[in-house]
């Protein structure tokens, strides 16, 4: 009964699981870079074989980072309704665009072919692979390391006056306040529930109902967020923060041989997924 209020526990973003594995100790910038190229490669691969490789690879990464696969699965679970809806829509409406291959069903506007089935299966698997990969990334990399990596990977953009530091600061603060707001939200849900509001009695698949239940929470949450932001600005200014000012940096990273090796392996897999003509 109490579980529907415990949001702060089920939030996996920013939930670093320190197992001290090989993956954890990689240079976070390299890790992020490899993540990005792998995700791009997976996003473009449409073959069964290629996605099987991607799935095995992402499972392997869980094993290598010594993080229980249940973390990955708990990330997939909330996405299931979307995956299912997407699959149904694709199955019903995308057939005309992918009319190659064997035709299984041809009824009115519904056309189901071996190609459209491939699209459905591959999209679903792709989704899961990407969730797995991002879980490994966020579970094995502290949020600080992540934001620093984003900052340093984007830093060439400083030349064209792109506010790299500001973006990374905003990300840091956003991540920093996720657990705070989760706790705040829990408190409010409990307060509303004790006045008779109804949360989480519908199953997780009843998206509309569950969204509606959230309205009385979201508006006060905005209020709290704004007043917290005001306080935070005050505290930052008191600590000499000047937007756009020159700053020094507390953490620095140094890539060593094994990091470059991982980058090479990541590149190899990405190129394989992108360009190798898989037989099926």
């Amino acid at each position: 009964m109490s579980s529907e209020f415990e949001i702060s526990r089920s939030i996996t973003i920013g939930q670093y699981v320190p197992t001290g594995s090989f993956i954890h100790r990689l240079d976070p910038r390299i890790k992020l870079l490899v993540f990005v190229i792998l995700v791009v490669a997976i996003a473009f691969n449409t073959s069964y074989f290629g996605n099987a490789i991607g799935l095995v690879l992402s499972l392997y990464l869980f094993w290598a980072s010594k993080i229980p696969i249940s973390y990955g699965l708990s990330g997939v679970k909330p996405a299931i309704p979307f995956i299912v809806i997407l699959a149904v829509l694709q199955l019903l409406f995308q057939g005309q665009l992918f009319s190659d291959g064997r035709v299984y069903v041809d009824y009115g506007f519904v056309l189901i072919t071996s190609e459209s089935i491939r699209l459905v299966v591959v999209s679903a698997v792709r989704f899961i692979e990407i969730i797995f990969l991002s879980s490994v990334l966020t579970l094995s990399t502290s949020t600080t390391e992540l934001t620093h990596s984003i900052q340093s990977l984007l830093s060439p953009l400083k030349k064209i006056k792109f506010p790299v530091h500001e973006i990374s600061l905003i990300t840091t603060i956003a991540i920093r306040f996720v657990p705070t707001f989760a706790i705040e939200m829990e408190k409010m849900m409990k307060a509303q529930a004790s006045r008779g509001a109804d949360f989480g009695t519908g199953g997780w698949w009843r998206i509309v109902q569950r969204t509606k239940e959230m309205f009385p929470i979201i508006i006060p949450l905005f209020n709290i967020a704004l007043s917290r932001a005001e306080d935070l600005i005050l505290a930052m200014e008191s600590r000499c923060y000047t937007p756009g000012g020159e700053r020094s940096s507390y953490s620095v990273y140094k890539a060593i041989a094994k990091d470059y090796l991982v980058l090479l392996v990541g590149l190899f897999f990405s190129l394989l997924l992108l360009f190798y003509p898989f037989p099926f």
Binding site: Y16, R176, R228, E237, S238, R239, C240, Y241, S249, Y250
Partner: protein
């Protein structure tokens, strides 16, 4: 001696809109000297937070001046050195931590003033040591208790090597244990020579200070050592303030046994007096 902070006829009002203004500070003047431990008390809405925001130039007076080390807070070029000299710890432990890791947060201010990396590491270590948070340096802040978060916030200010730290009700969100932790740190820093200004609703906390400033309706109504201030029980009550609970207890006992001193403002004094009283009673 040169004061660290000097206020001269400071008046300030918040603008609600074009026509309405709320006048909050009215012609306030006082000085804070190096090494002092000052408590500012006053009931809700008397203008304490507004006053403390004037001490590092977050707000500037409508009329009158605030001087920090001889620099006017209205001088924008001196903003950085003023804020570095006078640090502030705020009420909500959660709303003043910026980074996702304790040590990074302590370094935030140092990054802002461009301290080189090696120096930064040293200062972060020292500051975390003073507040006894070194074992937690790699933790995310949401895994800390309120008192611990507040000590991290103090470390962040301390690392900037300020001359003075302002605490605006920094203990009011904490339980009595967390409050003790923070008070100990304040006392320790004051013993190390740091000037401390603390805004508080807890009279037992104010009794710890060397000097109390009482604010009412944006004006200073009393200013003196705690022992003097707490003698004016009736005046304080008229200002919706009270004397520390140990003083109240001492007075009750004094009315029954007049050998028991009523001039008591701190817990340890009270305990000593009880011990003394007990010995005398048993002795006779």
């Amino acid at each position: 001696m040169e004061p660290i902070i000097r206020l001269e006829n400071v008046s300030f009002s918040y603008k609600i809109n074009e026509k309405t203004k709320v006048s909050v500070l009215k012609n306030i003047s006082f000085s804070i000297f190096p090494g002092e431990y000052v408590a500012i008390i006053g009931h809700n809405g008397s203008g304490k937070s507004t006053l403390s925001k004037h001490l590092n130039g977050i707000l500037t007076p409508d009329s009158g001046d605030v001087w920090v080390h001889g620099h006017n807070t209205k001088d924008v070029n001196k903003k950085r050195s003023i804020r570095q000299a006078v640090g502030t710890v705020f009420q909500h432990p959660d709303n003043q931590i910026v980074a996702t890791i304790v040590e990074e947060d302590v370094a935030f201010g140092l990054e802002n003033i461009g301290v080189p990396r090696e120096e930064m590491k040293k200062r972060v270590d020292e500051a975390l040591n003073v507040v006894k948070m070194s074992p937690f340096r790699h933790r995310p802040p949401h895994h800390l208790s309120g008192g611990q978060k507040q000590r991290v916030a103090i470390a962040g200010v301390l690392a900037m090597k300020p001359d003075c730290i302002v605490f605006d009700e920094a203990t009011s969100m904490l339980d009595s244990f967390g409050r003790k932790e923070v008070l100990q740190v304040m006392r320790k820093m004051n013993n190390m020579g740091m000037t401390i200004i603390t805004v508080t609703h807890h009279m037992s906390e104010a009794a710890e200070a060397d000097r109390i400033i009482v604010i009412e309706g944006g004006q200073i109504v009393m200013d003196g050592p705690p022992r003097e201030i707490f003698k004016h029980k009736l005046e304080l009550e008229n200002l919706q303030l009270e004397v520390p609970s140990v003083s109240q207890m001492a007075e009750v006992i004094h009315s029954q046994f007049n050998t028991f001193s009523k001039d008591i403002i701190q817990e340890n004094e009270f305990i000593e007096e009880v011990e003394k009283f007990h010995k005398e009673e048993v002795g006779t």
